[in-house]
């Protein structure tokens, strides 16, 4: 029953969209990149493979900053995938920017997906509480609680950290610069004083928002940039 509940929790929202995915791949093979891109972007939801393929298609269409954004999001989901790394590096090399690496904690927990971390965390909670309940009856467990409790607490904390690090909100403030060179300003106004320039394809962090302007952090500087000049990873495909 528990298995059924867990499966329903994690599987009901998962959609295996083999058909449009494969169809888009066939269009890509035929060199119909525009059609392939439309089809990839029409697929509801996200996966690292879908983002990777969309990135490849955008690379073929010479839309490198957009491709970098998709590759970057794919990398967040599968940090250890060598294909994503290779193509992202290739895209970054084209823009002659330097790609900042993923945070160390995301790399550390990259061997599991977000849902696997959640499942592991729930399992850990049940094991922890189950042993706690069993401890009311089993004397040996109560005696072992001196080392078992800290160990299980550490396990729960670790799994919780994994859940936190794999959440989409972890990359919610990341964005990619869209034009070849973008100029930031000191204020969110079109005629404000120019602050610094940043090449297209660069990864920046969004630290604030004011109407149609984003405050970005890059190169140890912060400046305002029009919203249409950045691609937020959380808004890809929308």
């Amino acid at each position: 029953m528990i298995r059924g509940i867990l499966l329903s929790l994690f599987m009901t929202t998962g959609v295996f969209a083999d058909s449009p995915f494969e169809e888009a791949g066939a269009l890509y093979d035929q060199g119909k990149f525009e059609e392939a891109l439309t089809l990839y972007q029409s697929i509801e939801g996200q996966s690292s493979a879908l983002d990777y393929n969309t990135g490849n298609t955008l690379m073929r269409l010479k839309q490198t900053p957009e491709a970098i954004a998709y590759y970057r999001r794919a990398l967040w989901q599968s940090p250890s995938d060598p294909d994503i790394r290779a193509n992202l590096n290739r895209a970054v090399a084209q823009t002659e920017t330097v790609m900042s690496p993923l945070p160390f904690y995301r790399k550390l927990c990259g061997f599991l997906t977000a849902e696997q971390w959640q499942l592991a965390f729930i399992t850990g909670c049940w094991i922890f509480a189950g042993l706690g309940i069993a401890g009311f009856k089993i004397q040996a467990l109560r005696q072992a609680s001196v080392w078992l409790f800290p160990f299980l607490s550490l396990m729960i904390l670790t799994l919780g950290a994994g859940v936190w690090a794999s959440m989409p909100s972890a990359y919610a403030d990341e964005a990619i610069i869209r034009p070849d060179v973008a100029t930031t300003r000191f204020e969110p106004l079109p005629d404000a004083t120019e602050h610094f320039s940043i090449p297209g394809g660069s990864v920046v962090k969004i630290t604030d928002q004011n109407r149609n302007w984003y405050k970005i952090s890059a190169l140890d500087e912060q400046g305002w940039i029009p919203a249409d000049q950045v691609i937020r990873l959380t808004e890809l495909g929308k």
Partner: protein, 566 residues
């Protein structure tokens, strides 16, 4: 030298493995007096405990301190020590060889040679300028030269972007950053960023480089004038101080061998044949090794061509190893050849012709012929079958044509909405439920434990049950009814109110009960207690029906129990 050897041996031998190897490697084979170069002392499959001091030839000096680097894979550690060197004067410096004379296999650390040329003099007063230089101004087609791109700056710079070179008539590798020292020009010190690439022209003519660069420059804001003024970054467009022009020409026609295929450099050719005693139709492996520097990237060791004597198969490239920079290295091929008849006595001579850029002349390397014994054991029909085998001929080696994207993923993986990836209420519910369950079970267990471990509480909890048992005993004959009622009442009240049974009195009971029961019940209780006391001290005072009294008491005590139980 001896001191170094002893020192090296004392480190290497105790810690060596059977297949350990030690060798030297330079990050670049040629530098200018402005540059530094990394010398790597590599210990493969070997641990080292301290950094050896290298005896360097006169004129070479070490920059900074050596750094130890370790690479561990599958439990085997490769250690290496990186020494950064520079030369004050141009010349050719031979580093090594060092002989360890150790038990670990008599490793001999082979010498490496570093060529240092005089850096070109530069005159400039600009804050930021770029130069591009070539290791030779006149080069031959297919000859590889080193292109050096140097950015000199007196201001803080960031990223550098360059427009793509239009690769027309030449091939060029990616520019790699090389370590460089600051340089004084006109008495002012400039920071230098240097990049090198290998250029190989593919046709004759002039090649001109005059690219544009975009450089990020960080400056304090002039408007403020304060030392603490914030930096601003701007992009400065800049061109080369002088365009670089390379003259590319063909090697001279004079003395050109017939089999010359455009290769340049300095090469060695080695070849071997195995087995040398075969029957007609048996395969013979021809192994050919080409070692050298120059156009080795484009060259392939020579193989045997199809003939009346031999059926030949496509040569297979076994090894292709290049030193850093890709200008020198080794290529090894293996080719299977089959003698067609018993009168074959040798594998013909192999030749490789090239233009020696050092001696400025054509040279032809030769290896063989290789004598073999072929025994004719096949019939004429068998020989014709061998002849009819598909001829592979010499086909070009497999080359990597380009650097492209890695192909699409075939499987989509599990496509999910972002809301699913974000932990929601279900996740919180499933993860907190076990702890809630734990807390609930803990509460139940604690209550149970409390009940068991507290005698007064246990008496209070058990009082109603014991009351019903005692009420049944009221029906038994013998003893005065009020004596029996007193026994029941006193035991019940003492258990319920946690009072000592022997010290129960009406006043104490009334004081406690008045907070928990109705006045009517309290009054009834007092009445029953008084009756019992009268009976106890005045003898048998039973009036009326014993059964009726019992029923009245039952009604009263059950009402009291009900009210106390609320």
């Amino acid at each position: 030298m001896k001191a170094f050897q002893k020192f090296l041996i004392s480190i290497i031998i105790p810690l060596s493995f059977l297949h350990a190897e030690v060798h030297l490697e330079l990050s670049r084979e040629a530098i200018t007096t402005d540059d530094t170069v990394d010398l790597l002392l590599k210990f493969e499959s070997m641990h080292i405990t301290s950094i050896p001091r290298l005896p360097l030839p006169e004129g070479l000096e070490m920059v900074g301190v050596p750094r130890r680097e370790a690479i561990s894979m599958y439990g085997v550690s490769d250690n290496r020590v990186r020494y950064t060197l520079r030369a004050e004067k141009p010349g050719t410096y031979k580093i090594g060889p060092f002989d360890t004379n150790g038990k670990a296999g008599n490793e001999k650390i082979k010498a490496v040679t570093l060529t240092v040329t005089q850096a070109k003099a530069i005159q400039s007063t600009e804050n930021l300028f770029v130069t591009m230089e070539s290791s030779a101004d006149e080069i031959l087609v297919n000859e590889t030269v080193e292109i050096t791109l140097s950015f000199y700056s007196r201001v803080s710079t960031g990223k550098i972007q360059s427009e793509d070179f239009e690769e027309n008539g030449f091939e060029i590798t990616e520019f790699q950053s090389v370590p460089t020292r600051p340089k004084r020009i006109g008495g002012v010190e400039y920071n230098v960023e240097r990049y090198i690439a290998q250029l190989t022209p593919t046709k004759t003519g002039n090649i001109t480089f005059d690219p544009n660069f975009k450089i990020q420059v960080r400056e304090r804001q002039k408007s403020s004038g304060s030392y603490y003024a914030p930096y601003s970054t701007r992009i400065q467009r800049i061109k080369l101080k002088e365009p670089l022009v390379l003259k590319v020409k063909n090697p001279p026609e004079e003395g050109r061998p017939d089999d010359y295929e455009g290769h340049l450099g300095t090469f060695r050719l080695n070849a071997s044949v195995s087995p040398t005693k075969v029957n007609v139709g048996d395969p013979i492996t021809l192994r050919v090794e080409l070692i050298g520097s120059g156009s080795l990237q484009q060259a392939l060791p020579p193989g045997l061509s199809e003939s009346d004597d031999f059926k030949v198969y496509e040569p297979k490239l076994l090894t292709k190893s290049f030193r850093p920079g890709g200008r020198s290295g080794q290529k090894v091929i293996e080719q299977v050849v089959i003698p067609k008849h018993g009168s074959v006595t040798e594998i013909p001579e192999l030749t490789f012709s090239y233009y020696d850029t050092t001696s400025k002349s054509y040279k032809t390397l030769k290896s063989g012929p290789f004598p073999i014994e072929v025994k004719a054991t096949l019939t004429a029909d068998d020989a014709s079958i061998i002849s009819s085998l598909p001829s592979m001929g010499n086909s070009p080696e497999l080359t990597k044509l380009g650097d492209d994207l890695i192909y699409l993923k075939i499987r989509p993986g599990k496509i999910q909405s972002v809301s699913t990836l974000q932990p929601g209420i279900q996740f919180l519910g499933f993860s907190s439920l076990p702890f809630a369950l734990w807390a609930f079970v803990g509460l139940v267990v604690r209550q149970k434990h409390h009940r068991v471990s507290d005698p007064s509480n246990r008496r209070r909890q058990e009082a109603p049950r014991r009351l019903r048992k005692h009420l049944r005993q009221l029906e038994e004959k013998g003893l005065d009814i009020y004596t029996r009622i007193w026994d029941v009442l006193s035991e019940y009240l003492s258990a319920r109110l946690n009072l000592p049974p022997g010290e129960l009195n009406t006043q104490d009971v009334s004081n406690i009960l008045q907070e928990h029961v109705s006045p009517e019940t309290l009054k009834a209780c007092e009445k029953w207690m008084q009756k019992c006391e009268q009976s106890r001290f005045a003898g048998n005072t039973t009036h009326g029906n014993r059964r009726h009294i019992r029923e009245q008491f039952r009604d009263f005590i059950l009402q009291l129990d009900q009210e106390l139980g609320k």
